[in-house]
Subunit: 172 residues, 2 copies
Amino acid sequence: MPVDEGSTRWLEPEEMHAWLSFIAGSALLESALDRQLQRESGMPHAYYQILAMLSDAPRRTLRMSDLAAATQSSQSRLSHAVSKLEGYGWVHRSQCPDDRRGTLATLTEQGMAVLREAAPGHVRAVREHLFDLLTREQVAQLTDIWQTVLAGMRDRDGVVATTRTVLGEAAG
Amino acid sequence: MPVDEGSTRWLEPEEMHAWLSFIAGSALLESALDRQLQRESGMPHAYYQILAMLSDAPRRTLRMSDLAAATQSSQSRLSHAVSKLEGYGWVHRSQCPDDRRGTLATLTEQGMAVLREAAPGHVRAVREHLFDLLTREQVAQLTDIWQTVLAGMRDRDGVVATTRTVLGEAAG
DNA sequence: CTCCAATAGTTGAACGTTCAAGCTCCACCG
DNA sequence: CGGTGGAGCTTGAACGTTCAACTATTGGAG
């Protein structure tokens, strides 16, 4: 229940325009990517990200909590997702040696193969809908903007969001 | 099923960094907004957007298809959502006079009241997580980037995405 | 005028996510 | 060393979205 009344700093026209542009653009972009992946590889973008992060990790293995942080998903969401991926045979769960509460998720050979199949189409879509439309400068600006937002999150919520390193071309 | 092999233009390091930053930042931002709205006003961000768009329309009324375009949602998604909102008494459906296939959605007084209650907290969250962290210049860059993306979508898919005008301070 | 493709909207089932609860195990304090 | 708070993960139900039908209506083309 909002308390405010009177003291609200509404968005200024330029901010409102920026906000509507971002909301609209990013929603359409995300749904385009989701549809492309669903159509050509039978998985949502979120699952692709899980596979991609795993593919880039040492031994293609990550602890559930690290994988959750790397994909910006809740533990619950990740747990459900990995169950599904495990059902497909794309990911394998095992017990964490040093911490018996822990679970390790490993990308299987089959999962790797699926990812390799999916990657080119996905990258093409990302290019087509985003990077091929932007200048080098805009790419740099995009990075700065979202790094700033991420830094803000970290300051607020205490350290989270361990945006993993490169991930390279997911299917190297 | 991807065809490619060999000819894929992978993302360059700067693009990869931009991509991961954007994906992570926007996901965390969106989920922060969703949680704030759910907690303080009992509705997801998508529903807020529907109410906001209606509040800004003449007679607080929009045709379903226009409302769908304005909120970047599929007709199906909107139809389900409006059913829910109608159940709460926040939106009212009526038949379109000029086109008997059409349906009009109108924001009720009660819906307007709920939106007015929700708006300050939502705007505060948007500021806190985004605009208060960015410079004026970055706000302008953000706008340009996403307008470019939207233009790309329109070129590709043929005209869609009628990003409505201002929407003002949703609760004027 | 009659057809017929296209447009507008809805519906139900399948899917993925959130939320709250629960379980196991670790860590640390006394 | 027993106890307790918290971390790590999972589960099931509720929720919102997608997908694929399906109905009803419109706007031409012949």
